[in-house]
């Protein structure tokens, strides 16, 4: 079997290493991540790693996977070109997905390698933050910067993956607890604005490793402002 082409691309503060994925997707990944990184800094005032790495691969025998080490690297793997199509055709929300992973990095980029959150409730907060920040603030930020869709197969990403996507999450969340944390972030954003939410995350985010309840209490206070 022929070895798939390897591409390494730097753009701004992003490095993408890709295997078997077309150049136009590599450019798009770099552009989305670079803009999302800027969004977390400008909208939420959060510190971001000076360089974020993306490892992306198309491997028919591998898993469909998108995750992060939570510090500075995002891992993406898909099985076929079909998986790269817009959400309605592939089932994957690419721009939201990468923004969500960068949201994790924004939260925990300064945590030690291999950090662990205290428990399932801490993980719920960590996930809710990434959902809220990506859908409510970062997707609109990317739309503002680009004016159009940065994904090679153009789709209405603001409608499909933006604030409306978050409203969908809020209505349909499988776990009521997770839904309530997501609502808290949304309420805090409405009450105090994203800068204050970002400040809370940047200053007290580490509490998720030892006392997530304390962090949730702070979030509740912010939402009641």
């Amino acid at each position: 079997m022929e070895k798939p082409e390897e591409i390494i691309k730097d753009r701004g503060n992003i490095t993408v290493a890709a295997r078997g994925i077309g150049m136009r997707y590599v450019y798009a990944l770099a552009a989305i991540a670079d803009t999302a990184r800027r969004g977390y800094r400008e909208v939420f005032g959060l510190r971001m790693p000076s360089r974020i790495y993306i490892a992306a691969e198309k491997d028919p025998e591998g898993p469909n996977m998108l995750n992060t080490d939570g510090r500075n690297t995002v891992y993406f793997s898909c099985r076929s070109d079909k998986d790269l199509l817009p959400p309605k055709k592939s089932g994957y929300s690419h721009i939201f997905g990468f923004s969500h992973e960068l949201g994790h990095i924004a939260f925990s980029g300064a945590f030690p390698a291999g950090f662990a959150l205290k428990d399932a409730s801490a993980d719920m907060v960590y996930q809710a933050w990434a959902d809220y920040s990506a859908a409510k603030r970062i997707i609109p930020f990317i739309a503002d910067v680009y004016g159009g869709c940065p994904w090679p197969n153009i789709y209405d990403f603001l409608a499909e993956e933006g604030p409306r996507h978050l409203s969908g999450f809020l209505k349909s969340h499988a776990s009521p607890q997770a839904g309530s944390v997501l609502k808290l972030f949304d309420a805090a954003d409405k009450a105090a604005g994203p800068k204050q939410v970002g400040r809370l995350v940047g200053t007290f985010g580490r509490e998720l490793m030892w006392e997530p309840e304390a962090f949730t209490e702070r979030l509740k206070k912010l939402a009641k402002r």
């Binding site: 790495y53 993406f76 662990a116």
Partner: protein, 386 residues
């Protein structure tokens, strides 16, 4: 360009590593040396090669990194006799505790020891830092001293026995590894009972796989296990603090839980680190590689992490079709294909089971079939907490 290539290689390696389970268990093979010369020891020739603290630190860092978001991680001190490296163990324990705490992880220590070198000071440290000992003891004096002797040929039973009280003072729940040789099979139940009366709570009873087992020895081995099972049922019904993991679930439950699972945790969520820093799936693979200079299963070195991802991938395969000899076996989900290292040693394939082990597994399967697992909840929380 070279730097870009290096970055890309690191990223692709990281991406491939993400396909494997997180590593949450680390065995530190702190020394090849031992003060005993047990006849059945798989470690082989003893040599004074020990791990340096820098290597151990790198290994701990690797564990914390590769455990990803796992909340709980385990470090096992192994050897040779790990207590010979008490100074190193102390430093590693303090370092690992500090690092694990900073990462928000719960850390558990275990150590397999022959129990001859411990004293009050060491036990106090092990107790304070919750380093849980697994004691190697085979039974009464006659059984134990037959195989477990010092380099000068002196039996070690008296020393080990006298230390049981000291260990129990700091570690109320004590487990032992009891190795059974063919010549001592007839005393297996008596030895179990003997150790039970000494206050032992948990038993790992394993046959000496390197010995020759005649049919009559195997039959006796099965008979002795039945006696142990009966006593186990009686004791656990009385809520006596005792664990024998084989009996905690019935055949159906075990095989259901293991369905589509092959092998063991070695190379999956656990690795062993040699004194040199080399990474192996487990200590059996390590020792075998060093005896035979066959480095097929060398996964990498702590300096740069796991680099042979092809080898790790082979150990992580679960499909039935890679192990045709097992696929039609009725107990394949009980033994999960045997010990991969032993399979490789005997058949040059990790997927082809060692016939000798199959016989022991059949005995265990026979014992489990039709059993009602009375001990499942009998030990309560005690066993787990300790």
């Amino acid at each position: 360009m070279a730097l870009q290539k290096l970055t890309a290689d690191t990223l692709f390696r990281g991406l491939r590593m993400r396909r494997f389970p997180a590593i949450d268990s680390l065995e530190l093979f702190v020394t090849h040396d031992c003060n005993l010369r047990c006849r059945y020891c798989f470690v082989g020739k003893k040599k004074s090669v020990s791990m340096k603290f820098g290597t151990a630190k790198r290994a701990v860092d690797m564990l914390l990194r590769e455990s990803r978001s796992a909340k709980a991680v385990t470090i096992v001190f192994f050897g040779g006799e790990p207590v010979l490296e008490y100074g190193l163990i102390k430093k590693v324990a303090l370092y690992a505790e500090k690092k694990a705490k900073a990462c928000g992880k719960q850390l558990t220590f275990h150590m397999t020891t022959n129990g001859t070198l411990i004293d009050k000071e060491k036990m106090a440290f092990f107790g304070r830092h919750k380093i849980r000992l697994l004691l190697s003891i085979d039974g009464d004096r006659q059984t134990h001293d037959k195989n477990r002797r010092t380099a000068s040929g002196k039996g070690t039973f008296d020393t080990v026995e006298s230390n049981i009280g000291l260990i129990k003072k700091h570690q109320s729940w004590l487990g032992v590894r009891m190795t059974v040789c063919p010549s001592e099979t007839g005393k297996m139940f008596d030895n179990f009972l003997f150790l039970l009366r000494k206050g032992i709570n948990q038993f790992i009873i394993e046959p000496n796989h390197t010995a020759r087992w005649a049919r009559r020895d195997l039959d006796e081995y099965a008979r002795q296990w039945r006696l142990i099972a009966d006593l186990y049922d009686k004791k656990t019904a009385e809520k006596y603090p005792l664990r024998l993991v084989y009996f905690e679930n019935d055949f159906e439950l075990i095989t259901k839980a293991n369905r589509h699972f092959w092998g063991c945790s070695g190379g999956r969520n656990g690795v062993t680190i040699a004194p040199s820093g080399d990474i192996y799936p487990c200590s059996h693979f390590l020792c075998s590689a060093e005896h035979k200079s066959d480095y097929t299963w060398l996964l990498g070195n702590v300096k740069d992490g796991i680099s042979d991802l092809d080898a790790r991938e082979r150990l992580n395969r679960l499909e039935d079709d890679v192990r045709p000899k097992c696929s039609s076996c009725r107990i394949k989900d009980l033994c999960t294909g045997g010990c991969p290292s032993e399979n490789y040693d005997t058949n040059k394939s990790v997927f082809e089971p060692c016939a000798r082990r199959c016989e022991f597994q059949m005995i265990l399967a026979g014992l489990l079939s039709g059993r009602t697992p009375t001990g499942k909840h009998a030990y309560g929380k005690t066993g787990r907490d300790n």
